[in-house]
Amino acid sequence: MKNRLPSIVLIIIVLVLWQFIAFLINAPYILPSPTEIVAKIWELRRTLFLVQLPSTMSVTVIGLLISIVFGLALAIAMDMNKKIADALYPIVIASQTIPTTAIAPLFVLWFGYSIWARVLVTILITFFPITITVYDGFRATKREMEELLITYGASKWDIFFKLKIPSALPHFFSAIKMAIPLSVIGAAIAEWLGAQSGLGYFSKRMMTQLDGAGVFAPIVILSVTAMISVAVIGVIEEKLIKWRKEI
């Protein structure tokens, strides 16, 4: 808690400043104050928490799970075979140069307003940090630890399961912590560009009504949800990898 004090103080200062500037501007459709946003969240709590949030979260969770499976499979394949790594690495990097906002409408054309167009955007954004970070984790395995296993007669798979996977666990958790906010962003962007439900879609709808607080309310919920998810992963990581600093 003591470590987080500076960031808590900074957030309070920003919120107070924001409240003050919003009061001075006095145009809620341009810059609603934090208290107006909180009031809006309370007013719209039913639709926000019972309809839009579950819709966005289902996209986020499905997209993230597919990304984890896909990203891990790519990382393992790249680590196991140098030719695969040489072939895939540039493609994985190139995939990140695709402007998501430009390609998302195309996904809507392919999949309609179904959940899969949004899931695909989320995957496109999140599989990259998972693949690259886990792959780097495999490569960061200490050579001398690997050689010790070889002297004990270990096979390639023994080395992979008994050394590389545990060694890469800290990298895996870092990847997940990076991917969670990205998956939320991916889902929200996709909802902005073409959806019939979700917090991104709701925010866009509020925009057309010039409801500033209504635009911000879903954004705040998205941010808080991402922060809580990252914190939960952090707690799990701390419980599971007490040896992180020793590797």
Binding site: K142, E144, M145, E147, L148, L149, I150, T151, Y152, G153, A154, D158, K162, L163, P166, L169, I241, K242, W243, E246, I247
Partner: protein
């Protein structure tokens, strides 16, 4: 018996040979120290024995069989303990048996016996981070013993330890060897350690390595640290230090 027969070796990244036509033998049950200046190739000898590097020419055999046809013929103990931080001490020690797909009961029995012997039985469910440097090295030694090979390759295992811990572990290793009579090849920088722990000392004096200069230690067993103060041992120590200094200057 470990035998190097006319072994020539060079690292791919180097344009000079590390060893040329090197031949030597280590008989079963012998305890031999290998000393030499930094970077002279002591650890390379171990890497070749372990099969981590391939010779350019010549052969390395154990009891007449080339090492490439053998499995689990040597147990390696590195300078760093290399205990896996995510495994308990018991699981770390059992790792070589696990790789040989031994049964759980067998592993449990063997690990309990060996941990009892190295004085770590009460720590079997602890993690490496819970142990001191000396205890970790003993756990690493226990793991090397459970690798099941008679030939132990100990690569400066005590060099990173505090002086008193180091002395304690040297005496402990000596007792272990007297009890088990494993074949030990021990790499060290420390001349006194080499003399105290071994029956013979091999000194590397040339580059590329073409031969080892062999010194037989005139000490009997059981040995005591006070033996190192004997005049003939002191003379031998000085002679070895002189050899190493000459090699450093080259």
């Amino acid at each position: 018996m470990l035998k190097f027969d006319n072994v020539t070796f060079k690292y791919d990244s180097d344009n000079y040979e590390m060893m040329r036509n090197l031949s030597f033998e280590v008989k079963d049950g012998e305890s031999i120290s290998l000393i030499g200046a930094s970077g002279c190739g002591k650890s390379t000898v171990f890497r070749l024995i372990n099969g981590l590097e391939k010779t350019q020419s010549g052969s390395i055999t154990i009891n007449g069989t080339p090492i490439k046809e053998l499995k689990n013929y040597s147990s390696y103990m590195p300078q760093k303990d290399l205990l896996y931080p995510w495994r308990t001490i018991e699981k770390n020690v059992c790792l070589p048996m696990e790789l040989r797909k031994e049964s759980k009961e067998k592993m449990k029995k063997a690990s309990e016996e060996i941990l009892e012997e190295v004085g770590l039985l009460d720590y079997r469910n602890k993690y490496p981070r819970d142990l001191s440097g000396g205890m970790r090295q003993r756990a690493s030694f226990a793991r090397a013993l459970l690798a099941g090979a008679n030939l132990l390759l100990l690569d400066e295992p005590f060099s990173a330890l505090a002086s008193l811990t180091r002395i304690g572990l040297q005496e402990w290793l000596l007792t272990e060897w007297e009890k088990r009579k494993n074949t030990i090849l021990f790499v060290t920088h420390d001349v006194e350690e080499a003399i105290f722990l071994s029956q013979k000392v091999f000194v590397i004096t040339d580059r590329p390595i073409t031969h080892f200069e062999e010194y037989v230690i005139p000490l009997t067993y059981p040995r005591k640290r006070e033996d190192l103060k004997r005049s003939d041992i002191m003379e031998l120590k000085e002679e070895l230090i002189k050899k190493l200094r000459q090699e450093e200057v080259k």
